[in-house]
Symmetry: C2
Subunit: 267 residues, 2 copies
DNA sequence: AAATGTGAACCTATTCACAGCT
DNA sequence: AGCTGTGAATAGGTTCACATTT
Protein backbone atom coordinates (compact mmCIF):
# COMPACT_ATOMS: atom_id res chain seq x y z
CA UNK A 1 0.00 0.00 0.00
CA UNK A 2 0.96 3.56 -0.47
CA UNK A 3 1.34 4.00 3.23
CA UNK A 4 5.00 3.69 3.72
CA UNK A 5 6.75 5.34 0.84
CA UNK A 6 9.84 4.62 2.81
CA UNK A 7 9.31 0.99 2.11
CA UNK A 8 11.59 1.04 -0.84
CA UNK A 9 13.83 -1.94 -0.89
CA UNK A 10 11.63 -3.59 -3.41
CA UNK A 11 10.19 -1.86 -6.42
CA UNK A 12 13.69 -1.64 -7.79
CA UNK A 13 14.56 -3.99 -10.54
CA UNK A 14 15.50 -6.35 -7.79
CA UNK A 15 13.42 -9.44 -8.15
CA UNK A 16 11.14 -8.95 -11.07
CA UNK A 17 9.57 -12.38 -11.49
CA UNK A 18 10.84 -14.30 -14.45
CA UNK A 19 7.34 -14.71 -15.81
CA UNK A 20 6.95 -10.97 -15.79
CA UNK A 21 10.25 -10.41 -17.54
CA UNK A 22 9.12 -12.78 -20.27
CA UNK A 23 6.03 -10.68 -20.86
CA UNK A 24 7.68 -7.28 -20.91
CA UNK A 25 8.72 -7.64 -24.56
CA UNK A 26 5.11 -8.37 -25.41
CA UNK A 27 3.91 -5.25 -23.71
CA UNK A 28 6.66 -3.29 -25.31
CA UNK A 29 5.65 -4.41 -28.76
CA UNK A 30 2.02 -3.52 -28.18
CA UNK A 31 3.03 -0.15 -26.78
CA UNK A 32 5.32 0.55 -29.69
CA UNK A 33 2.43 -0.03 -32.05
CA UNK A 34 0.29 2.39 -30.06
CA UNK A 35 3.10 4.87 -30.04
CA UNK A 36 3.36 4.72 -33.80
CA UNK A 37 -0.31 5.49 -34.02
CA UNK A 38 0.29 8.41 -31.68
CA UNK A 39 -2.04 7.06 -29.03
CA UNK A 40 -1.19 9.05 -25.91
CA UNK A 41 -2.52 6.86 -23.11
CA UNK A 42 -3.83 3.37 -22.69
CA UNK A 43 -5.67 1.51 -19.95
CA UNK A 44 -4.55 -1.80 -18.55
CA UNK A 45 -7.61 -3.32 -20.13
CA UNK A 46 -6.80 -2.12 -23.62
CA UNK A 47 -3.12 -2.84 -23.44
CA UNK A 48 -3.72 -6.27 -22.00
CA UNK A 49 -6.03 -7.09 -24.89
CA UNK A 50 -3.41 -5.99 -27.37
CA UNK A 51 -0.76 -8.08 -25.69
CA UNK A 52 -3.00 -11.09 -25.30
CA UNK A 53 -2.99 -11.30 -21.51
CA UNK A 54 -5.53 -10.36 -18.89
CA UNK A 55 -5.50 -6.97 -17.30
CA UNK A 56 -4.93 -8.06 -13.74
CA UNK A 57 -1.77 -9.82 -14.78
CA UNK A 58 -0.59 -6.80 -16.67
CA UNK A 59 -1.16 -4.48 -13.74
CA UNK A 60 0.62 -6.85 -11.43
CA UNK A 61 3.49 -7.05 -13.85
CA UNK A 62 3.78 -3.29 -14.07
CA UNK A 63 3.60 -2.98 -10.33
CA UNK A 64 6.97 -4.71 -10.15
CA UNK A 65 8.48 -1.96 -12.23
CA UNK A 66 7.03 0.87 -10.23
CA UNK A 67 3.94 3.04 -10.21
CA UNK A 68 3.87 4.19 -13.75
CA UNK A 69 0.14 4.57 -14.25
CA UNK A 70 -2.39 7.20 -13.29
CA UNK A 71 -5.53 6.06 -11.51
CA UNK A 72 -8.64 6.91 -13.37
CA UNK A 73 -6.65 7.47 -16.54
CA UNK A 74 -4.26 4.72 -17.51
CA UNK A 75 -0.68 4.62 -18.68
CA UNK A 76 1.20 7.18 -20.72
CA UNK A 77 2.31 5.25 -23.77
CA UNK A 78 5.61 7.00 -24.45
CA UNK A 79 6.59 6.94 -20.84
CA UNK A 80 5.90 3.24 -20.50
CA UNK A 81 7.76 2.46 -23.69
CA UNK A 82 10.74 4.16 -22.20
CA UNK A 83 10.49 2.51 -18.81
CA UNK A 84 10.10 -0.97 -20.20
CA UNK A 85 12.87 -0.44 -22.71
CA UNK A 86 15.13 0.66 -19.96
CA UNK A 87 14.15 -2.24 -17.75
CA UNK A 88 14.91 -4.66 -20.55
CA UNK A 89 18.21 -3.03 -21.23
CA UNK A 90 17.21 -1.85 -24.67
CA UNK A 91 18.29 1.71 -24.19
CA UNK A 92 21.72 0.44 -24.91
CA UNK A 93 23.03 -1.28 -27.95
CA UNK A 94 23.85 -4.97 -27.68
CA UNK A 95 26.28 -6.34 -30.19
CA UNK A 96 25.55 -9.99 -30.92
CA UNK A 97 27.30 -12.67 -32.91
CA UNK A 98 25.61 -15.43 -34.74
CA UNK A 99 27.42 -18.70 -35.28
CA UNK A 100 26.26 -21.11 -37.96
CA UNK A 101 25.12 -19.41 -41.12
CA UNK A 102 23.26 -22.22 -42.82
CA UNK A 103 19.68 -22.05 -43.96
CA UNK A 104 18.34 -21.15 -40.59
CA UNK A 105 21.18 -18.87 -39.60
CA UNK A 106 20.90 -16.93 -42.83
CA UNK A 107 17.16 -16.60 -42.42
CA UNK A 108 17.60 -15.34 -38.89
CA UNK A 109 20.23 -12.85 -39.97
CA UNK A 110 17.87 -11.50 -42.56
CA UNK A 111 14.99 -11.51 -40.18
CA UNK A 112 14.09 -8.06 -39.04
CA UNK A 113 13.59 -9.05 -35.44
CA UNK A 114 17.27 -9.38 -34.94
CA UNK A 115 18.12 -5.91 -35.93
CA UNK A 116 15.36 -4.56 -33.77
CA UNK A 117 15.97 -1.75 -31.41
CA UNK A 118 18.67 -2.59 -28.99
CA UNK A 119 20.51 -5.23 -30.97
CA UNK A 120 23.12 -5.11 -33.64
CA UNK A 121 24.58 -8.03 -35.50
CA UNK A 122 28.28 -7.54 -34.94
CA UNK A 123 29.32 -10.62 -36.87
CA UNK A 124 28.19 -13.74 -38.64
CA UNK A 125 30.46 -16.71 -38.16
CA UNK A 126 30.63 -20.06 -39.88
CA UNK A 127 32.89 -23.08 -40.00
CA UNK A 128 32.54 -23.56 -43.73
CA UNK A 129 35.46 -21.83 -45.49
CA UNK A 130 33.42 -21.50 -48.65
CA UNK A 131 30.96 -19.29 -46.80
CA UNK A 132 33.60 -16.90 -45.57
CA UNK A 133 33.44 -13.50 -47.14
CA UNK A 134 30.02 -14.06 -48.61
CA UNK A 135 27.66 -11.36 -47.46
CA UNK A 136 24.50 -12.47 -45.70
CA UNK A 137 22.02 -9.76 -44.88
CA UNK A 138 24.73 -7.37 -45.93
CA UNK A 139 27.27 -8.70 -43.48
CA UNK A 140 30.25 -10.73 -44.64
CA UNK A 141 30.56 -14.12 -43.00
CA UNK A 142 33.70 -14.63 -40.95
CA UNK A 143 35.61 -17.77 -40.19
CA UNK A 144 35.12 -19.65 -36.97
CA UNK A 145 38.80 -19.48 -36.10
CA UNK A 146 38.42 -15.79 -35.47
CA UNK A 147 35.57 -16.23 -33.04
CA UNK A 148 37.48 -15.23 -29.94
CA UNK A 149 39.00 -12.21 -31.60
CA UNK A 150 35.64 -11.05 -32.91
CA UNK A 151 34.00 -11.32 -29.52
CA UNK A 152 36.82 -9.54 -27.84
CA UNK A 153 37.01 -6.69 -30.29
CA UNK A 154 33.29 -6.08 -30.40
CA UNK A 155 32.59 -6.52 -26.72
CA UNK A 156 29.99 -9.14 -27.49
CA UNK A 157 28.13 -10.64 -24.58
CA UNK A 158 25.21 -12.25 -26.40
CA UNK A 159 25.65 -15.09 -28.86
CA UNK A 160 23.25 -16.92 -31.12
CA UNK A 161 23.93 -20.52 -32.06
CA UNK A 162 22.36 -21.81 -35.25
CA UNK A 163 24.74 -24.63 -36.01
CA UNK A 164 23.88 -28.28 -36.43
CA UNK A 165 23.30 -30.07 -33.14
CA UNK A 166 26.66 -31.77 -33.23
CA UNK A 167 28.62 -28.56 -33.24
CA UNK A 168 26.57 -26.59 -30.76
CA UNK A 169 28.22 -27.53 -27.48
CA UNK A 170 31.66 -26.92 -28.84
CA UNK A 171 30.67 -23.53 -30.20
CA UNK A 172 28.97 -22.75 -26.94
CA UNK A 173 32.10 -23.56 -24.97
CA UNK A 174 34.17 -21.26 -27.13
CA UNK A 175 31.66 -18.46 -26.87
CA UNK A 176 31.58 -18.74 -23.11
CA UNK A 177 35.33 -18.96 -22.81
CA UNK A 178 35.60 -15.82 -24.90
CA UNK A 179 33.29 -13.91 -22.58
CA UNK A 180 29.78 -14.41 -23.90
CA UNK A 181 27.35 -14.85 -21.04
CA UNK A 182 23.98 -15.07 -22.76
CA UNK A 183 23.19 -17.55 -25.46
CA UNK A 184 20.21 -18.07 -27.69
CA UNK A 185 20.34 -21.63 -28.92
CA UNK A 186 18.56 -22.81 -32.05
CA UNK A 187 20.36 -26.12 -32.24
CA UNK A 188 18.26 -29.05 -31.05
CA UNK A 189 20.50 -29.98 -28.20
CA UNK A 190 20.89 -29.29 -24.52
CA UNK A 191 23.81 -26.99 -23.83
CA UNK A 192 25.69 -27.15 -20.60
CA UNK A 193 27.18 -23.95 -19.40
CA UNK A 194 28.81 -22.73 -16.20
CA UNK A 195 26.86 -20.77 -13.62
CA UNK A 196 26.30 -17.21 -14.57
CA UNK A 197 25.68 -17.97 -18.21
CA UNK A 198 22.11 -17.75 -19.47
CA UNK A 199 20.83 -19.99 -22.18
CA UNK A 200 17.48 -19.77 -23.89
CA UNK A 201 16.52 -22.26 -26.49
CA UNK A 202 14.22 -22.12 -29.43
CA UNK A 203 13.29 -25.54 -30.59
CA UNK A 204 11.09 -26.21 -33.48
CA UNK A 205 10.36 -29.83 -33.01
CA UNK A 206 9.72 -29.44 -29.31
CA UNK A 207 7.04 -26.86 -30.03
CA UNK A 208 5.45 -29.11 -32.60
CA UNK A 209 5.46 -32.03 -30.23
CA UNK A 210 3.74 -30.01 -27.56
CA UNK A 211 1.08 -29.04 -30.06
CA UNK A 212 0.68 -32.65 -31.11
CA UNK A 213 0.10 -33.64 -27.52
CA UNK A 214 -2.79 -31.23 -27.16
CA UNK A 215 -4.10 -32.00 -30.60
CA UNK A 216 -4.21 -35.66 -29.79
CA UNK A 217 -6.10 -34.96 -26.64
CA UNK A 218 -8.66 -32.82 -28.41
CA UNK A 219 -9.27 -35.60 -30.86
CA UNK A 220 -9.54 -38.23 -28.20
CA UNK A 221 -11.61 -36.76 -25.48
CA UNK A 222 -14.89 -35.64 -26.88
CA UNK A 223 -17.79 -37.64 -25.66
CA UNK A 224 -16.58 -41.09 -24.79
CA UNK A 225 -14.50 -41.18 -21.67
CA UNK A 226 -14.10 -44.85 -21.21
CA UNK A 227 -13.15 -46.86 -24.23
CA UNK A 228 -13.64 -44.88 -27.38
CA UNK A 229 -10.40 -43.18 -27.99
CA UNK A 230 -10.56 -41.54 -31.34
CA UNK A 231 -14.05 -40.69 -32.47
CA UNK A 232 -15.47 -37.72 -34.31
CA UNK A 233 -14.67 -35.95 -37.52
CA UNK A 234 -11.67 -34.06 -36.28
CA UNK A 235 -10.42 -37.22 -34.70
CA UNK A 236 -10.75 -39.25 -37.82
CA UNK A 237 -8.95 -36.57 -39.68
CA UNK A 238 -6.27 -36.49 -37.06
CA UNK A 239 -5.94 -40.17 -36.53
CA UNK A 240 -6.60 -41.77 -39.84
CA UNK A 241 -3.48 -41.18 -41.82
CA UNK A 242 -0.55 -43.46 -41.59
CA UNK A 243 -0.05 -44.69 -38.09
CA UNK A 244 3.67 -44.90 -37.69
CA UNK A 245 3.86 -46.55 -34.30
CA UNK A 246 7.28 -47.40 -33.12
CA UNK A 247 7.54 -50.96 -32.03
CA UNK A 248 6.68 -51.05 -28.36
CA UNK A 249 8.21 -52.91 -25.49
CA UNK A 250 10.58 -54.86 -27.61
CA UNK A 251 12.16 -56.40 -24.61
CA UNK A 252 9.67 -58.99 -23.54
CA UNK A 253 8.71 -59.32 -19.92
CA UNK A 254 8.33 -55.55 -19.60
CA UNK A 255 5.80 -54.67 -16.98
CA UNK A 256 3.84 -52.66 -19.49
CA UNK A 257 0.21 -52.11 -18.73
CA UNK A 258 0.28 -52.50 -15.03
CA UNK A 259 -3.31 -52.47 -14.19
CA UNK A 260 -4.35 -49.32 -15.93
CA UNK A 261 -2.90 -48.61 -19.30
CA UNK A 262 -4.70 -50.77 -21.84
CA UNK A 263 -2.13 -52.49 -23.88
CA UNK A 264 -0.51 -50.84 -26.76
CA UNK A 265 -2.65 -48.17 -28.20
CA UNK A 266 -5.05 -49.16 -30.95
CA UNK A 267 -2.75 -47.94 -33.68
CA UNK B 1 -2.22 -45.40 -6.88
CA UNK B 2 -2.23 -48.42 -9.07
CA UNK B 3 -5.62 -49.68 -10.03
CA UNK B 4 -7.61 -47.81 -7.48
CA UNK B 5 -8.88 -44.51 -8.83
CA UNK B 6 -10.18 -43.34 -5.53
CA UNK B 7 -10.11 -39.63 -6.10
CA UNK B 8 -8.23 -39.44 -9.32
CA UNK B 9 -9.73 -40.68 -12.55
CA UNK B 10 -7.17 -42.48 -14.57
CA UNK B 11 -3.45 -42.54 -14.49
CA UNK B 12 -3.93 -41.89 -18.14
CA UNK B 13 -3.36 -38.70 -19.94
CA UNK B 14 -5.89 -36.86 -17.84
CA UNK B 15 -4.15 -33.93 -16.24
CA UNK B 16 -0.52 -34.14 -17.12
CA UNK B 17 0.80 -30.75 -16.00
CA UNK B 18 1.65 -28.42 -18.82
CA UNK B 19 5.18 -27.99 -17.52
CA UNK B 20 5.64 -31.72 -17.73
CA UNK B 21 4.28 -31.91 -21.26
CA UNK B 22 6.78 -29.27 -22.29
CA UNK B 23 9.62 -31.43 -21.02
CA UNK B 24 8.56 -34.72 -22.54
CA UNK B 25 10.08 -33.86 -25.91
CA UNK B 26 13.35 -33.19 -24.14
CA UNK B 27 13.32 -36.57 -22.46
CA UNK B 28 12.34 -38.18 -25.70
CA UNK B 29 15.29 -36.68 -27.49
CA UNK B 30 17.72 -37.81 -24.82
CA UNK B 31 16.21 -41.27 -24.83
CA UNK B 32 16.38 -41.51 -28.59
CA UNK B 33 20.08 -40.74 -28.43
CA UNK B 34 20.55 -43.49 -25.85
CA UNK B 35 18.51 -45.84 -27.95
CA UNK B 36 20.74 -45.22 -30.94
CA UNK B 37 23.71 -46.12 -28.82
CA UNK B 38 21.87 -49.26 -27.81
CA UNK B 39 21.87 -48.38 -24.14
CA UNK B 40 19.30 -50.69 -22.58
CA UNK B 41 18.42 -48.93 -19.34
CA UNK B 42 18.99 -45.57 -17.74
CA UNK B 43 18.55 -44.17 -14.26
CA UNK B 44 16.62 -41.01 -13.51
CA UNK B 45 19.89 -39.42 -12.55
CA UNK B 46 21.59 -40.14 -15.85
CA UNK B 47 18.63 -39.29 -18.01
CA UNK B 48 18.00 -36.09 -16.11
CA UNK B 49 21.57 -35.02 -16.70
CA UNK B 50 21.22 -35.71 -20.41
CA UNK B 51 18.03 -33.71 -20.58
CA UNK B 52 19.33 -30.87 -18.48
CA UNK B 53 16.89 -31.13 -15.58
CA UNK B 54 17.20 -32.51 -12.09
CA UNK B 55 16.30 -36.07 -11.32
CA UNK B 56 13.50 -35.40 -8.87
CA UNK B 57 11.70 -33.38 -11.49
CA UNK B 58 12.14 -36.09 -14.05
CA UNK B 59 10.82 -38.78 -11.76
CA UNK B 60 7.86 -36.65 -10.87
CA UNK B 61 7.20 -36.01 -14.53
CA UNK B 62 7.31 -39.70 -15.35
CA UNK B 63 5.03 -40.46 -12.45
CA UNK B 64 2.26 -38.64 -14.28
CA UNK B 65 2.59 -41.04 -17.17
CA UNK B 66 2.52 -44.14 -15.06
CA UNK B 67 4.97 -46.45 -13.35
CA UNK B 68 7.37 -47.15 -16.12
CA UNK B 69 10.56 -47.64 -14.15
CA UNK B 70 11.99 -50.46 -12.10
CA UNK B 71 13.16 -49.70 -8.61
CA UNK B 72 16.75 -50.46 -8.05
CA UNK B 73 17.35 -50.52 -11.77
CA UNK B 74 16.05 -47.57 -13.75
CA UNK B 75 14.05 -47.18 -16.93
CA UNK B 76 14.04 -49.37 -20.01
CA UNK B 77 15.08 -47.03 -22.78
CA UNK B 78 13.08 -48.53 -25.63
CA UNK B 79 10.00 -48.87 -23.56
CA UNK B 80 10.15 -45.29 -22.37
CA UNK B 81 10.73 -44.02 -25.88
CA UNK B 82 7.57 -45.74 -26.92
CA UNK B 83 5.50 -44.57 -23.97
CA UNK B 84 6.52 -40.95 -24.34
CA UNK B 85 6.04 -41.04 -28.09
CA UNK B 86 2.58 -42.36 -27.59
CA UNK B 87 1.78 -39.81 -24.93
CA UNK B 88 2.90 -37.02 -27.22
CA UNK B 89 0.88 -38.39 -30.07
CA UNK B 90 3.91 -39.19 -32.17
CA UNK B 91 2.89 -42.72 -32.96
CA UNK B 92 0.67 -41.22 -35.54
CA UNK B 93 1.60 -39.08 -38.46
CA UNK B 94 0.63 -35.42 -38.32
CA UNK B 95 0.36 -33.65 -41.62
CA UNK B 96 1.22 -29.99 -41.25
CA UNK B 97 1.05 -27.00 -43.56
CA UNK B 98 3.40 -24.11 -43.51
CA UNK B 99 2.22 -20.72 -44.67
CA UNK B 100 4.73 -18.06 -45.66
CA UNK B 101 7.71 -19.41 -47.52
CA UNK B 102 10.09 -16.49 -47.25
CA UNK B 103 13.57 -16.69 -45.83
CA UNK B 104 12.45 -18.06 -42.53
CA UNK B 105 9.75 -20.32 -43.91
CA UNK B 106 12.12 -21.85 -46.40
CA UNK B 107 14.74 -22.38 -43.72
CA UNK B 108 12.19 -24.05 -41.49
CA UNK B 109 10.98 -26.27 -44.30
CA UNK B 110 14.52 -27.38 -44.90
CA UNK B 111 15.19 -27.81 -41.26
CA UNK B 112 15.30 -31.42 -40.26
CA UNK B 113 13.33 -30.91 -37.10
CA UNK B 114 10.17 -30.49 -39.06
CA UNK B 115 10.31 -33.79 -40.75
CA UNK B 116 11.09 -35.51 -37.50
CA UNK B 117 9.22 -38.54 -36.46
CA UNK B 118 5.54 -37.87 -36.28
CA UNK B 119 5.31 -34.92 -38.62
CA UNK B 120 5.05 -34.60 -42.34
CA UNK B 121 5.01 -31.40 -44.33
CA UNK B 122 1.84 -31.78 -46.35
CA UNK B 123 2.14 -28.45 -48.11
CA UNK B 124 4.02 -25.20 -48.33
CA UNK B 125 1.84 -22.21 -49.06
CA UNK B 126 2.67 -18.67 -50.05
CA UNK B 127 0.88 -15.54 -51.23
CA UNK B 128 3.53 -14.63 -53.76
CA UNK B 129 2.52 -15.99 -57.18
CA UNK B 130 6.13 -16.02 -58.29
CA UNK B 131 6.91 -18.54 -55.58
CA UNK B 132 4.21 -20.94 -56.65
CA UNK B 133 5.50 -24.14 -58.14
CA UNK B 134 9.03 -23.56 -56.97
CA UNK B 135 10.22 -26.49 -54.93
CA UNK B 136 11.43 -25.75 -51.43
CA UNK B 137 12.91 -28.65 -49.55
CA UNK B 138 11.64 -30.77 -52.38
CA UNK B 139 8.05 -29.63 -52.01
CA UNK B 140 6.44 -27.35 -54.56
CA UNK B 141 5.00 -24.17 -53.11
CA UNK B 142 1.25 -23.77 -53.52
CA UNK B 143 -0.82 -20.66 -53.78
CA UNK B 144 -2.63 -19.20 -50.81
CA UNK B 145 -5.99 -19.33 -52.53
CA UNK B 146 -5.93 -23.10 -52.27
CA UNK B 147 -5.33 -23.07 -48.55
CA UNK B 148 -8.74 -24.36 -47.58
CA UNK B 149 -8.71 -27.08 -50.16
CA UNK B 150 -5.25 -28.23 -49.14
CA UNK B 151 -6.17 -28.43 -45.49
CA UNK B 152 -9.33 -30.31 -46.24
CA UNK B 153 -7.76 -32.82 -48.57
CA UNK B 154 -4.83 -33.57 -46.35
CA UNK B 155 -6.67 -33.61 -43.07
CA UNK B 156 -4.32 -31.05 -41.64
CA UNK B 157 -4.85 -29.99 -38.05
CA UNK B 158 -1.53 -28.31 -37.34
CA UNK B 159 -0.40 -25.17 -39.14
CA UNK B 160 2.81 -23.19 -39.07
CA UNK B 161 2.73 -19.47 -39.76
CA UNK B 162 5.93 -17.88 -41.01
CA UNK B 163 4.46 -14.88 -42.77
CA UNK B 164 5.23 -11.23 -42.08
CA UNK B 165 3.45 -9.91 -39.01
CA UNK B 166 0.87 -8.05 -41.04
CA UNK B 167 -0.47 -11.15 -42.71
CA UNK B 168 -0.41 -13.49 -39.76
CA UNK B 169 -3.82 -12.88 -38.22
CA UNK B 170 -5.54 -13.18 -41.54
CA UNK B 171 -3.77 -16.42 -42.36
CA UNK B 172 -4.54 -17.66 -38.88
CA UNK B 173 -8.24 -16.95 -39.32
CA UNK B 174 -8.32 -18.87 -42.56
CA UNK B 175 -6.45 -21.80 -41.10
CA UNK B 176 -8.80 -21.99 -38.17
CA UNK B 177 -11.88 -21.64 -40.33
CA UNK B 178 -10.61 -24.49 -42.45
CA UNK B 179 -10.24 -26.76 -39.47
CA UNK B 180 -6.74 -26.27 -38.13
CA UNK B 181 -6.74 -26.29 -34.36
CA UNK B 182 -3.08 -26.02 -33.46
CA UNK B 183 -0.83 -23.26 -34.68
CA UNK B 184 2.85 -22.61 -34.38
CA UNK B 185 3.40 -18.92 -34.95
CA UNK B 186 6.72 -17.45 -36.03
CA UNK B 187 5.31 -14.06 -36.92
CA UNK B 188 6.03 -11.41 -34.31
CA UNK B 189 2.43 -10.72 -33.50
CA UNK B 190 -0.22 -11.83 -31.05
CA UNK B 191 -2.77 -14.07 -32.69
CA UNK B 192 -6.29 -14.23 -31.43
CA UNK B 193 -8.08 -17.48 -31.89
CA UNK B 194 -11.31 -19.02 -30.68
CA UNK B 195 -11.40 -21.36 -27.71
CA UNK B 196 -10.20 -24.80 -28.52
CA UNK B 197 -7.41 -23.62 -30.76
CA UNK B 198 -3.88 -23.85 -29.44
CA UNK B 199 -1.25 -21.34 -30.38
CA UNK B 200 2.40 -21.50 -29.54
CA UNK B 201 4.71 -18.77 -30.58
CA UNK B 202 8.37 -18.66 -31.33
CA UNK B 203 9.64 -15.16 -31.21
CA UNK B 204 13.16 -14.26 -31.88
CA UNK B 205 13.25 -10.75 -30.61
CA UNK B 206 11.39 -11.63 -27.44
CA UNK B 207 14.01 -14.21 -26.59
CA UNK B 208 16.77 -11.73 -27.23
CA UNK B 209 15.12 -9.13 -25.08
CA UNK B 210 14.80 -11.54 -22.20
CA UNK B 211 18.49 -12.31 -22.50
CA UNK B 212 19.30 -8.62 -22.60
CA UNK B 213 17.40 -8.11 -19.37
CA UNK B 214 19.49 -10.65 -17.55
CA UNK B 215 22.66 -9.55 -19.23
CA UNK B 216 22.08 -6.01 -18.12
CA UNK B 217 21.58 -7.16 -14.61
CA UNK B 218 24.79 -9.13 -14.61
CA UNK B 219 26.72 -6.15 -15.87
CA UNK B 220 25.16 -3.83 -13.37
CA UNK B 221 25.41 -5.71 -10.19
CA UNK B 222 28.90 -6.98 -10.05
CA UNK B 223 30.60 -5.08 -7.35
CA UNK B 224 33.84 -6.61 -8.34
CA UNK B 225 33.28 -10.05 -9.68
CA UNK B 226 36.45 -11.06 -11.30
CA UNK B 227 37.10 -8.72 -14.13
CA UNK B 228 38.73 -11.48 -16.04
CA UNK B 229 35.88 -12.86 -18.07
CA UNK B 230 33.94 -9.76 -18.87
CA UNK B 231 36.44 -7.00 -19.02
CA UNK B 232 35.62 -3.48 -19.81
CA UNK B 233 34.97 -4.32 -23.39
CA UNK B 234 31.60 -5.85 -22.73
CA UNK B 235 30.91 -4.06 -19.51
CA UNK B 236 31.60 -0.62 -20.79
CA UNK B 237 29.62 -1.17 -23.89
CA UNK B 238 26.86 -2.63 -21.85
CA UNK B 239 26.67 0.04 -19.28
CA UNK B 240 26.93 3.26 -21.10
CA UNK B 241 26.86 4.12 -24.79
CA UNK B 242 24.53 4.38 -27.65
CA UNK B 243 21.53 5.28 -25.62
CA UNK B 244 18.64 4.83 -27.96
CA UNK B 245 16.40 6.16 -25.25
CA UNK B 246 13.03 7.27 -26.32
CA UNK B 247 12.29 10.61 -24.79
CA UNK B 248 11.05 9.85 -21.33
CA UNK B 249 8.30 11.44 -19.36
CA UNK B 250 7.30 13.62 -22.22
CA UNK B 251 4.03 14.63 -20.71
CA UNK B 252 4.95 16.80 -17.83
CA UNK B 253 3.50 16.16 -14.46
CA UNK B 254 4.26 12.51 -14.91
CA UNK B 255 5.22 11.03 -11.63
CA UNK B 256 8.23 9.50 -13.17
CA UNK B 257 11.08 8.55 -10.97
CA UNK B 258 9.48 9.91 -7.88
CA UNK B 259 11.75 9.52 -4.95
CA UNK B 260 11.18 5.84 -5.25
CA UNK B 261 12.82 4.49 -8.29
CA UNK B 262 16.29 5.84 -8.45
CA UNK B 263 17.55 5.43 -11.92
CA UNK B 264 18.43 1.83 -11.68
CA UNK B 265 21.61 0.88 -13.37
CA UNK B 266 24.09 3.62 -12.84
CA UNK B 267 24.38 4.24 -16.51
C1' DA C 1 -16.56 7.68 -12.49
C1' DA C 2 -12.78 5.30 -13.89
C1' DA C 3 -8.82 2.73 -13.51
C1' DT C 4 -4.60 1.71 -10.93
C1' DG C 5 -2.04 -0.94 -7.41
C1' DT C 6 -2.02 -4.65 -4.31
C1' DG C 7 -3.10 -7.74 -0.29
C1' DA C 8 -5.09 -12.23 -0.05
C1' DA C 9 -6.74 -16.46 -1.99
C1' DC C 10 -5.84 -19.71 -5.10
C1' DC C 11 -3.51 -22.62 -8.26
C1' DT C 12 0.65 -24.64 -10.46
C1' DA C 13 5.28 -26.24 -10.28
C1' DT C 14 9.58 -27.55 -8.01
C1' DT C 15 12.19 -29.60 -4.51
C1' DC C 16 12.80 -32.47 -0.51
C1' DA C 17 13.23 -36.64 1.69
C1' DC C 18 12.07 -41.16 2.43
C1' DA C 19 9.03 -45.32 2.22
C1' DG C 20 8.80 -49.18 -0.60
C1' DC C 21 10.09 -52.23 -4.21
C1' DT C 22 13.66 -55.06 -6.91
C1' DA D 1 22.24 -51.66 -1.91
C1' DG D 2 20.09 -48.99 -5.25
C1' DC D 3 16.65 -46.37 -7.43
C1' DT D 4 11.89 -45.37 -8.21
C1' DG D 5 7.61 -43.18 -6.93
C1' DT D 6 5.33 -39.93 -4.17
C1' DG D 7 3.43 -37.42 -0.07
C1' DA D 8 4.66 -33.11 2.13
C1' DA D 9 6.89 -28.72 2.10
C1' DT D 10 8.16 -24.84 -0.43
C1' DA D 11 8.34 -21.58 -4.05
C1' DG D 12 6.44 -19.23 -7.85
C1' DG D 13 2.63 -17.42 -10.58
C1' DT D 14 -2.20 -16.04 -11.44
C1' DT D 15 -6.58 -14.28 -10.32
C1' DC D 16 -9.79 -11.95 -7.32
C1' DA D 17 -11.71 -8.10 -5.48
C1' DC D 18 -11.51 -3.71 -3.58
C1' DA D 19 -9.42 0.32 -1.29
C1' DT D 20 -7.14 4.23 -3.17
C1' DT D 21 -6.23 7.81 -6.15
C1' DT D 22 -7.02 11.09 -9.90
Amino acid sequence: MATGRTHRPATRSRGIPEATVARLPLYLRALTALSERSVPTVSSEELAAAAGVNSAKLRKDFSYLGSYGTRGVGYDVEYLVYQISRELGLTQDWPIVMVGIGNLGAALANYGGFASRGFRVAALIDADPSMVGKPVAGIPVQYIDDLEKIIEENGVSIGVIATPAGAAQQVCDRLVAAGVSSILNFAPTVLSVPDGVDVRKVDLSIELQILAFHEQRKAGEDGGVGGADLPSAAAVRAAAPAAVAASPASTAGRKGPDGDVPAVMPA
